[in-house]
């Protein structure tokens, strides 16, 4: 007798589950796929002096024939242009290089930080965690601006170094790649520290003792156990730093010099200075493809590893 009622209830929860799945997909469709398609469509257009500054325009009221006509005018010319001009290739390569080096530096600084936090007395950990998250309470832009004040020739850092007598005259740091590295490492450090901390904090310390007990030196135990078990956190942290760093615009614009070539900046110039929306869109699409490939590869590898573990 209770059966129909129960069937009803599971039916209700089934419907709810479907809605719950559909909502995020709709969200992604509306806010990711649609804009992506629009950008992709612009990237296949030609720049014109008009508003909006690209052609052809689709006139939805003109009918099917007109639409096909407009569609046939789309061409991959902008992509060919990007491939021909060494400026873009160099910008992409230089962005990847800067992002890679900054990610490595962030890992180098972030791992010991996360390790120290995870091994700190339990009552101190929330405070340390708070200190890592605290900078987010101030605007990102303001914090990057603050670095100008620190790094400029008559800035705090130079004044300090000259005061303790390490240098005789101010170092040129601002408007160089070094300043960009400093800016990226500073800004993205929490994204490296938090996932690594999460894996290290969960780790059973007796595993390290077991490794020592079985004949590992302190370094060997660290390498074979601690670092190995922190790998998922390290991978997550590196991706979280590398991906936004490749497309970073604010930091190279404010701290970098005229030679600092980064794709985010190139994109900005194409879009705002040159008002060439089609080329800017093509740059954006290529950047996305460039980043999607390693992410998909990484996720596949991770899924395979998980499958293997089962």
């Amino acid at each position: 007798m209770a059966q129909p009622e129960q069937a009803n209830r599971t039916g209700g929860s089934e419907a709810f589950r479907r809605i719950a799945i559909v909502v995020p997909y709709l969200w992604l469709l509306a806010l990711f796929l649609l804009p992506f398609l629009i950008v992709f469509r612009i990237s296949l257009s030609e720049p014109v002096l008009a508003m909006p500054p690209y052609a052809p325009q689709f006139d939805w009221s003109a009918g099917w024939q007109e639409f096909l006509e407009a569609l046939s005018q789309l061409s991959p010319a902008n992509y060919l242009w990007l491939a021909e001009d060494a400026l873009y290739r160099n910008a992409y390569l230089s962005s990847l290089r800067i992002a890679l080096i900054s990610t490595a530096l962030t890992l180098l600084i972030g791992f010991p930080l996360a390790y120290g936090m995870a091994r700190a007395p339990e009552r101190l950990r929330p405070i340390l965690l708070m200190l890592v998250i605290l900078p987010f309470w101030t605007s990102f832009l303001i914090r990057v601006y603050a670095w100008i004040g620190i790094l400029k020739p008559e800035g705090l850092l130079n004044q300090f170094l000259m005061w303790i007598g390490v240098i005789g005259e101010p170092l040129t740091i601002l408007n160089t790649d070094t300043a960009v590295y400093i800016g990226i490492v500073y800004s993205y450090l929490p994204f490296m520290v938090l996932p690594i901390y999460a894996t290290l904090e969960r780790m059973d310390h007796s595993l390290v003792e077991a490794a020592l007990d079985l004949g590992c030196t302190a370094f060997g135990a660290f390498w074979k156990v601690t670092a190995r078990l922190a790998l998922p956190g390290i991978a997550a942290g590196c991706l979280l730093v590398f991906i936004p760093a490749v497309g970073e615009f604010v930091i190279p614009d404010l701290l970098g010099g005229t030679e600092t070539l980064m794709i985010g900046r190139t994109l900005w110039i194409e879009f705002f200075a040159n008002r060439d929306w089609p080329v800017a869109s093509a740059v954006a699409i290529l950047l996305l493809l460039l980043l999607v490939v390693p992410i998909v590869l990484f996720q596949n590898a991770q899924a395979r590893a998980q499958e293997k573990a089962k």
Binding site: D204, S206, L207, E209, A210, A211, L212, D213, L214, G215, C216, T217, A218, G220, V225, R228, L229, A309
Partner: protein, 379 residues
């Protein structure tokens, strides 16, 4: 002299004053901030001994083990292993392996790789490693699980991997930290005997930490009963059970009834004690009996006889009312309430099937024992 219980094997290097201890804690103290985990402790353990550290949690037994493994350094005092001081010897250079309470299996390695871990550190040849790992897995009956990861195993299987890993390097001393704590009772009992066989087969010295007195009694050659950083008594299981040196030890191992009282006279090695429960006790004076002194008389429940008639003896008999009966199959436990209000526990072995007129609830009974059955204790 009467022997105190059976011994597992004729092995008693601790009785030989010329034997050199294999492990020696000499006046070892370990402090954590203001907490003293181990307090000026001296303890000797001999080669091939199965030695248990028994005590409640926080008594310092695990700290002793960790100092042997090298994870903690003593605040004061010295530890010697086979005559060599262990001071400043890092864990990886000690000929000691440990089986961890949490098992501490490497989650990213297979069962075989876990067992092989220590051998690889030694730089053993690959063929030899494979052969040794195979032998170890056979020993703990896990051959068909060699390529599984730890999380794919049951608790009992994980425990056996941990054991295989800790003996793979053939350490001379194996430390076991609550090795059987996570297992259910049946598996635990089975594993206890396996451990004992293994220890004899490999000729290792075992030092095991446990809070389970039954486990310690079953497996050990000797037991050290610890309390608050000090060793209260060291002895064979039978010595600890039959001749505890204090009420603490008597109480920690098995069940015990204690009667408080005053020693009234000592004559020919026998002490007369007036129990505050209102009856006279006569027992061996032992080392603790002093005339006029306040003392305790301890007696195990199985050494008390329960009868309806008043036994024909002047001492060591007291009347009470049956308060509770617990039938446990092999034996029956009587809780008898004396007229003073004290509850005394007595166990009776059920040697026959069925009794014609069993003693029932609220019946008046006599409890009695012989002078040999109990022990006079000072504290």
């Amino acid at each position: 002299m009467k022997s105190l219980g059976n011994v597992r094997r004729s092995f008693a290097p601790w009785a030989d004053s010329s034997a050199r201890p294999y492990i020696a804690f000499e006046n070892v103290t370990k402090r954590f901030d203001d907490f003293t985990a181990v307090d000026d402790l001296t303890l000797h353990v001999f080669e091939r001994e199965f030695f248990s550290l028994l005590g409640p949690s926080g008594c310092g037994k695990t700290t002793l083990l960790r100092m042997l493994a090298g994870f903690e350094e003593p605040t004061a005092g010295d530890i010697f292993l086979d005559g060599q001081p262990l001071k400043n010897v890092p864990p990886h250079r000690r000929p000691v392996n440990m089986m961890f309470q949490s098992y501490a299996l490497f989650p990213h390695l297979t069962v075989a790789d876990n067992v092989a871990f220590g051998l690889k550190q030694e730089g053993m040849a690959r063929g030899e490693i494979a052969e040794r790992v195979g032998r170890m897995l056979k020993l703990v009956r896990l051959e068909q699980f060699a390529s599984r990861k730890p999380h794919q195993l049951s608790g009992g299987q994980r425990q056996r991997v941990a054991l295989a890993r800790s003996i793979a390097k053939r350490p001379k001393l194996l430390l076991l930290d609550e090795p059987l704590g996570a297992l259910d009772k049946k598996l635990r009992e089975q594993t206890q005997f396996e451990l004992m066989d293994l220890q004899e087969e490999l000729g290792l010295t075992f030092m095991i930490v446990t809070h389970d007195q039954e486990e310690a009694m079953t497996m050990s050659d000797r037991i050290a009963v610890m309390d608050a950083g000090v060793v209260r008594q060291v002895g064979t299981p039978a010595e600890i059970y039959e001749a505890p040196s204090s009420r603490y030890v008597a109480d920690f191992i098995g069940n015990v009834n204690t009667f408080e009282g005053r020693v009234t006279a000592i004559e020919n090695g026998m002490a007369d004690m007036a129990a505050s429960d209102g009856f006279a006790i006569r027992t061996h004076a032992g080392a603790h009996g002093r005339s006029g002194a306040h003392a305790y008389f301890a007696i195990r429940p199985e050494k008390i006889e329960v009868t309806r008639q008043r036994p024909d003896q002047e001492h060591n008999a007291v009347e009470g009312e049956v308060w509770d009966i617990a039938y446990l199959g092999g034996l029956t436990v009587f809780n008898v309430k004396l007229d003073s209000g004290t509850i005394v526990k007595a166990t009776v072995l059920n040697t026959e099937r069925g009794v014609e007129d069993p003693i029932g609830y609220e019946e008046r009974v006599w409890l009695s024992f012989t002078p040999d059955c109990g022990l006079l204790l000072e504290n």
